[in-house]
């Protein structure tokens, strides 16, 4: 059976042309506007209240649109952006170290291993400085120097210090800023908040996104909500792997349901495995915890030179330690990009040099930094991270090195969008991690927060107007329309189907099996044989799920197991597409490492002549071969070279 077919028509990202530094300015000038009187007549739905969702919803409401905003959490403040630790990049050059918009743009395109759109990335770098200004004005308490000015630190893959931070809780502080801006609009009545609501389907009328079906998670009622445009800011799909740094309830249902309704899915196999997470300790484990990349500013990563060294790390003398990142990548040392650092850790552990009870860990050691700067200085910089580490492992990282191992963290892939952040369904916009757009095959540290807020504060508010300008005469969307009828019916049938299996196996058990399969065959390294095997296993597990899943209770009450079952059912379908995408991309780039394509010293081997494109997949039916649409990537300013951090 053929796994997929290829469209002969190229997909167009509708990027502006001309000098790159003028593209966004000129594009903005050409976008159509909607007058204040007409904005009052237009409704916009925003799904998700992380950095992208809260910032978009607040900004759109400030402009005068009627905004309805949805989140599955009991409060908008709890979206998983809250957990981002290290920082947010911005090309302010406050440090006088040679940073510029161009350099941030260049670092990001190179960091993404030349699989992102130049126009998008340049715009991201351009608006990055405005984000910091906006957040400071909202009262985000960034770290400051004694003179009262903003402080910066350095992150992986770059040689300047451009990362703004608030201890190890930058995401929390940025999200609270955006959340508070949104709450202000809720108080004004310009935005209506639907917390504890989960989007379960997209409603498309005459080819345009016109609403959603949401389930009230407290009562179980299904609700119809209409709008002139729908914005998805629902985050990434790392939880396909079961174990990840994502929140337990993070899921792909909103984007997957939109995909089934016609939105193309871009580069689904591009997932980020973060190098510094607390290792797995047992088979009961429910999630993995990140230790911020900022720790690599001062921590040194090493393993013993001797295999299965039984000594405590503090007893191993300096000359018997292998600081393998400093050895392999002298120019960037411990601050190589995430994909490179993760693969290097895996390589050492696979070769038998791993440490800790599982032997699947490496050391992240602060003893040199403590000697250099003193314990108090380390505590001031990383105190809360050290506390988290000790709470989980019961070990004191001031006295003994941390044990870390890579874990699933972020997904660069997501719904395909054009330069205006609109998907292939007109009126369906996608922002933040939920879209595919800016990070190519590998995201640099402190760039996710930047992208989420760039999309929400400074891109979407302009581009959505251009679309809505055609809708000023469209009356309120009537939710009695047959498309709403059909969507609600299909959601209801699916819920009934999940409840009617009445099997014996809890959702978590099946989800864990799926996750393990993905980790083994579609994780840090992949090969054709393994991916084909994974496709078979996924089919079998999906069959088992629909035959034997145990979902207790009813659909008309608070029912967490039912919520989980719906999400995992979608994960099976998405997992299949991820494996297929990984199988089709016969090259290695960024986080996508195909064992068949590597250099002699084990680095990723890109094949630009064949794969310099975005793979956007069109849904054709359950277990039906999808259609691959290609959007060619053109590099005018960052000429693709072998990405070297040596």
């Amino acid at each position: 059976m053929t796994l997929y077919s290829i469209s002969d028509k190229k997909l167009d990202g509708k990027c502006p042309t001309g000098p790159i530094e003028k593209r966004w300015t000129q594009h903005k000038a050409s976008l159509r506007l909607v007058s204040p009187a007409n904005k009052r007549r237009l409704d916009v739905i925003v799904v998700g209240t992380g950095l992208a969702g809260s910032s978009a919803a607040a900004s759109l409401a400030e402009l005068g649109y009627n905004v309805k905003v949805f989140c599955y959490q009991d409060s908008a403040r709890r979206a998983h952006s809250i957990a981002a630790q290290g920082g947010i990049n911005a090309a302010k050059n406050y440090m006088n170290d040679g940073d510029s918009v161009f350099r941030l743009f260049y670092d990001t395109v190179k960091g993404g291993d030349y699989r992102a759109r130049e126009s998008n990335v340049y715009r991201l770098a351009e608006v990055s400085a405005n984000i910091i200004d906006q957040c400071v004005a909202q009262g985000v308490p960034f770290a400051r120097e004694y003179g009262g000015y903003l402080d910066n630190r350095s992150f992986g893959g770059v040689q300047v210090s451009r990362t703004f931070y608030a201890k190890g809780q930058t995401g929390q502080q940025l999200l609270l800023g955006a959340y508070q801006a949104l709450m202000r609009q809720v108080a004004r009545g310009q935005a209506v908040l639907y917390s504890s609501h989960e989007m379960l389907d997209l409603v498309v009328i005459d080819g345009k996104a016109r609403g959603i079906i949401a389930r009230n998670l407290i009562t179980g009622e299904l609700e119809r909500h209409g709008a002139h445009a729908v914005v998805l800011c629902t985050g990434g799909y790392g939880n396909v792997f079961f174990l990840s740094t994502n929140a337990k309830n993070s899921n792909a249902t909103a984007i997957w349901r939109a995909h089934r309704r016609g939105a193309f899915f871009g580069n689904p196999c591009f997932t980020q495995i973060h190098p510094t997470c607390i290792p797995v300790s047992g088979d009961y484990q429910s999630k993995l915890t990140l230790m911020s990349e900022s720790l690599r500013n001062d921590g040194r990563i090493w393993v013993p030179k001797k295999k299965d060294d039984p000594r405590k790390p503090t007893e191993i003398p300096e000359e018997e330690r292998d600081y393998y990142l400093e050895r392999r990548y002298p120019a960037f040392g411990n601050l190589v990009p995430r994909d490179v650092a993760s693969r290097a850790a895996k390589e050492r552990c696979d070769a038998g040099y791993g440490v800790g009870p599982s032997k699947m860990a490496v050391y992240l050691d602060f003893s040199d930094a403590i000697k250099r700067m003193g314990r108090a200085a380390i505590e001031a910089k990383y105190g809360n991270l050290f506390e988290i580490y000790q709470l989980i492992t019961d070990e004191n990282p001031y006295e003994t090195p941390m044990r870390i191992y890579p874990a699933v963290h972020y997904t660069m892939g997501g719904l395909w969008v054009d330069y205006n952040l609109m998907s292939t369904i007109p009126g369906l916009f996608v922002c933040g991690e939920a879209n595919f757009s800016d990070h190519g095959a590998n995201r640099l540290g402190a760039s996710a927060l930047m992208q989420g807020l760039a999309d929400g504060y400074f891109v979407l508010p302009y581009t959505i107007g251009d679309y809505l300008a055609d809708d000023i005469r469209t009356p309120k969307i009537d939710t009695r329309h047959e498309a709403f009828e059909e969507a609600e019916k299909s959601v209801n049938e699916r819920i009934e189907k999940l409840l009617s299996v009445r099997g014996k196996t809890p959702v978590d058990v099946l989800h864990r099996k799926l996750g393990l399969t993905m980790w083994d065959y579609c994780g840090m390294s992949r090969n054709a044989e393994g991916l084909k095997k994974a496709l078979q296993i996924i089919d079998d597990l999906e069959d088992e799920f629909w035959k034997d899943v145990a979902v207790p209770g009813t659909g008309k009450e608070w029912n967490r197991e039912l919520e989980k079952a719906g999400r995992v059912a979608d994960f099976f379908e998405l997992a299949r597409l991820m494996c297929l995408d990984a199988l089709h991309r016969e090259e290695s780039c960024g986080g996508h490492f195909r064992e068949e394509y590597q250099t002699e010293d084990g680095e990723a081997l890109r094949r630009d002549d064949l794969f310099s494109y975005v793979a956007a997949w069109e849904y054709t039916g359950h277990r039906q071969p999808p259609v691959l649409h290609k959007e060619d990537l053109i590099f005018e300013y960052c000429k693709p070279t072998v990405r070297s951090y040596k």
Binding site: N130, P141, T505
Partner: protein, 247 residues
């Protein structure tokens, strides 16, 4: 290890609720408390029984979703930790553990251990923000802020909105939650402009939601997983007095 649980079960807000006993064995001390409940729930599900409703999300102590009242203490026995950060190694083998929801009039029970905390959102809506629209901001370094002020504002801003302060308080007061926001914004020059309205409106909303008043017992500070200081309540009191006497 093995533990005996007494868990509060309540079908919905109308149900009077009761304690139900469970025995959980085969526990690894490195499991988190919530993972222990996951194990129990999966066992109940396989047996066709209704699992215990509790809420959690990030499971790394930052989202504020989880919150169980364990052996009479919000978030359990460990200081400066949320429920999801408590591990079974903090309990004794054979121990009886009592698990209840947050109990406060302003936090009605939804099911078992899950309560409705939307009152906190409404308190923030009453004034827990700085009124600045996207695009209005001056350069980030245009307003230098003394490091100490920024750092105190940050400490207050680390509140995760979990509600442990309310659960710990004999008056079910939300004063520490309100004070943390009043102090976070009030300590920054950007936040001074609306300081007067903020403190008055947020306090009045707190009352409207049915939270009690503050009698300075300090239970909130003792149980706050983020160590939010009572100093913030003192700051709020100063703001309140200033707001009442200045026109």
């Amino acid at each position: 290890m093995k533990v005996y649980l007494k868990v509060w079960r309540q079908r919905n807000a109308q149900d009077p609720g009761r304690f139900v006993d469970y025995t959980v064995d085969g526990i690894n001390p490195d499991m988190s408390f919530l993972e222990m409940l996951d194990v129990l729930n999966n066992r109940l599900i396989s047996q066709g029984e209704d699992p215990i409703a509790f809420d959690s999300d990030c499971r790394e102590g930052i989202c504020g979703t989880c919150g169980l009242y364990i052996n009479g203490r919000p978030h359990g026995p460990l200081p400066r930790a949320t429920t999801c950060q408590v591990h079974m190694r903090h309990f004794k083998d054979g121990e009886t553990i009592v698990i209840e929801p947050w109990r406060a009039k302003a936090f009605p029970v939804i099911k078992d251990l899950v309560v409705d905390r939307s009152a906190f959102d409404r308190i923030i809506q009453a004034g827990g923000y700085i009124s600045v629209n996207t695009g209005q901001a001056p350069d980030g370094n245009a307003i230098p802020i003394p490091k100490e002020d920024a750092s105190k504002a940050f400490d207050a801003a680390t509140c995760i909105g979990c509600g442990a302060c309310v659960a710990a308080c004999k008056n079910a007061s939300a004063m520490l939650f309100v004070a943390a926001k009043v102090a976070h914004l009030g300590r920054l020059p950007q936040g001074r402009i609306e300081a007067r309205e903020r403190v008055l409106n947020m306090l009045s909303q707190m009352e409207k939601e049915g939270f009690g008043g503050c009698t300075n017992t300090g239970a909130c500070e003792a149980e706050c997983p983020k160590g939010i200081s009572l100093e913030n309540i003192a700051f709020l009191n100063r703001e309140f007095i200033k707001a009442k006497i200045s026109f």
